[in-house]
């Protein structure tokens, strides 16, 4: 190293003043940057940003997603592999959650049409936990009948036409139409005597039906969900029935997306999951 002789020459008063000012300026820069950085906590302070996350998003037993925000490297590889383009990245308004993926179920839910949980496989950091192997093991949230009074099935009504109207851009994979490519929901009109869209399109129920027919998804019996997610129970004497959420529900949001009533009858709660529901016994 050099033989510096700083101590020999005392700094001139001008130089000292310059140094003092530089120090103050730098301290202000530091302070300003820190305020900007910590402002990212504001959106999380009041209970956090409530968002439906992709399959496998890390959560603790209390469903707190702190670990998910920590582990996510904000790269969007999950976005890129999703066949129905359900995953979006958060903007600056999410603070520390910037660049973290989420799903807006009413607009485009996860229908597991990739079968193999591509987003989970794509995640480089394990923020979408690799310990998840099958759709039925997912715990994104839990469905709830938020507006039972407007439910067509409860009113005993059928449904005819495009589930969400002609302008809806959301897509679903219809096994009977194309095994490999999701198509727009608008291109697949229905004619139902009693509206059962939430159960009819439920990815878990579809898989259960496939397994019962002896043709599990991808020919893999492990893909068979162990429990029902949604069942229809008779009410009264007519054809009216009530959708009842069961403990096989993974919270994927397809029911919320497909519900033809506006606003939707059925929603996904993200502060509940099949596990917490089972633990609470309700």
């Amino acid at each position: 190293m050099s033989t510096e002789k700083r101590g020999k020459r005392p700094l001139s008063p001008v130089r000292q003043e310059q140094n003092r000012r530089e120090f103050i300026r730098t301290a202000i820069l530091a302070g300003g940057t820190m305020i900007a950085a910590l402002a990212g906590y504001i959106p999380l302070a009041s209970g956090g940003v409530q968002r439906l996350r992709p399959p496998g998003a890390l959560k603790d037993a209390q469903l707190d997603e702190h670990d998910f925000l920590s582990a996510c490297i904000k790269c969007g590889q999950c976005v890129q592999v999703c066949p129905v383009e359900a995953i979006k990245l958060a903007d600056l308004a999410d603070g520390f959650g910037i660049g973290v993926p989420h799903i807006e179920a009413r607009t485009q839910a996860c229908d597991f049409s990739c079968d193999g949980l591509q987003c989970v496989l794509a995640c480089p950091t394990g923020a979408l936990t690799h310990s998840l192997n099958y759709p039925a093991e997912t715990r994104m949230g839990f469905a709830r009948l938020a507006r039972p009074d407007s439910c067509l099935a409860i009113q005993g009504k059928g449904f005819k036409g495009q589930a969400r109207g002609p302008d809806f851009t959301g897509t679903l994979r219809y096994e009977e139409v194309d095994r490999w490519n999701p198509i727009p929901v608008a291109d697949h009109p229905y004619d139902l005597e009693l509206c059962d869209l939430c159960m009819r399109q439920c990815p878990i129920e579809i898989r259960i039906a496939q397994c019962e027919a002896g043709t599990p998804p991808s020919g893999d019996p492990n893909q068979c969900p162990p429990r029902h997610a949604i069942v229809f129970e008779s009410i009264g004497s007519g054809k009216a029935m009530m959708p009842v959420i069961s403990d096989g529900c993974v919270g994927c949001g397809v029911c919320e997306m497909i519900c033809p009533v506006n606003p939707t009858v059925i929603v996904i709660d993200i502060d509940r999951s099949a596990d917490t529901v089972a633990a609470q016994g309700n």
Binding site: A30, C72, K74, C75, L92
Partner: protein, 325 residues
């Protein structure tokens, strides 16, 4: 003089150490003495600079660099848009034809915040580490980072405004970048959030290019305005921990800029265009300890100094091989 230690010291914020006359090698002293005998007049120097300005290779490295930067960033965009799966992800982490890559600083923040490292992240981090050891460390900044690209235009505006004395440029102590580095690392460790990612214009711009623009671009615009009207290249010079991370990698990289004192006129054109002019301190008269001096690791290998030098005194070198280019 130990290149490694001097590089680190400068990177952490210390002013470049001035050599005492007795530290200069005999050959360098002779060159300096010889130069004093044949001083160029101002007119001669101007004429030489003007001739160089017209030369065909005047923007050689800048053009190569901009081309690379645009191609790399477009590859992400095009790959996603056409779903060809060439490069998936963003600059923070990606998969290049299936191979994991992770930005070293983003990976570090995630590791500190999450406190677990999955194998894929480790593979990606090691791959990128080796890549940038080979390519020069902060080469990432000037050859890949999209914020660096836009900041270059902000810088041009800033210099123009400052030349016309319409603004009064402000500088800060470079050591603050080291302080920020420690603070961001500690914040990740303590809060468990990747605090820096919220601010990182590199990540914001990369994601905006690939997934579409958003509100976060307002923050990037604010940074650019600050750099235009207040302080030149402030983010890259005084804040960005990505730059320091890659700078550390660069200390052991074989690709760097080399200065040869022999033909240099010490007019300082190189220092005027440099993002990190402290690394070019050695080009000041009587500051070079040897005939050939490697430029420190804080250098982003952008090549602006190589392009502007009228005497070919600055060149890229691959240590142990001939000059590049």
């Amino acid at each position: 003089m130990n290149y490694f230690l001097e590089s680190l010291a400068q990177m952490f914020g210390r002013a470049p150490s001035k050599p005492q006359p007795n530290e200069l090698k005999v050959e360098v002293k002779e060159i300096y003495t010889e130069k004093r005998k044949h001083k160029l007049t101002k007119e001669e120097l101007r004429a030489m600079e003007a001739a160089h300005e017209r030369s065909s290779h005047r923007h050689k490295w800048r053009n190569r660099r901009w081309f690379t930067l645009i191609v790399v960033n477009l590859l992400f965009v095009v790959s996603y848009y056409f779903d060809v799966q060439l490069i998936e992800g963003a600059l923070t982490a990606s998969r290049v034809v299936g191979f994991h890559m992770a930005d070293l600083n983003s990976a570090l923040q995630v590791m500190l915040a999450y406190k677990h490292v999955v194998l894929n992240l480790l593979i990606g981090t090691v791959t990128v580490f080796l890549l940038w050891v080979l390519l020069g460390g902060r080469t990432f900044c000037s050859w890949v980072c999209p914020y660096h690209f836009v900041a270059e235009f902000a810088e041009k505006l800033h210099v123009k405004l400052a030349d016309k004395k319409w603004i009064k440029p402000i500088t800060f102590h470079r050591g603050i970048r080291t302080v920020f580095y420690v603070i961001f690392a500690l914040l990740a460790l303590v809060t468990g959030y990747t605090v820096f990612e919220t601010l990182s214009p590199t990540g914001i711009l990369s994601r905006a290019l690939i997934y579409g623009p958003g509100l976060a671009l307002v923050w990037v615009a604010f940074l650019l305005l600050f750099e235009i009207f207040v302080s030149r290249r402030a983010w890259c010079r005084y804040v960005c921990p990505i730059g320091l991370t890659y700078g550390l990698v660069g200390t052991i990289s074989p690709i760097r800029v080399k200065y040869n004192v022999k033909d240099c006129h010490h007019e300082g054109d190189c220092r005027k265009v440099c993002e990190v002019p402290h690394v070019l301190d050695t080009t000041i008269r009587m500051r070079a300890r040897d005939v050939n001096v490697p430029i420190g690791a804080d250098c982003t290998r952008c090549g602006l100094c190589v392009d502007i030098c009228p005497t070919d005194s600055l060149n890229f070198e691959f240590v142990g091989s001939k000059k590049l280019g």
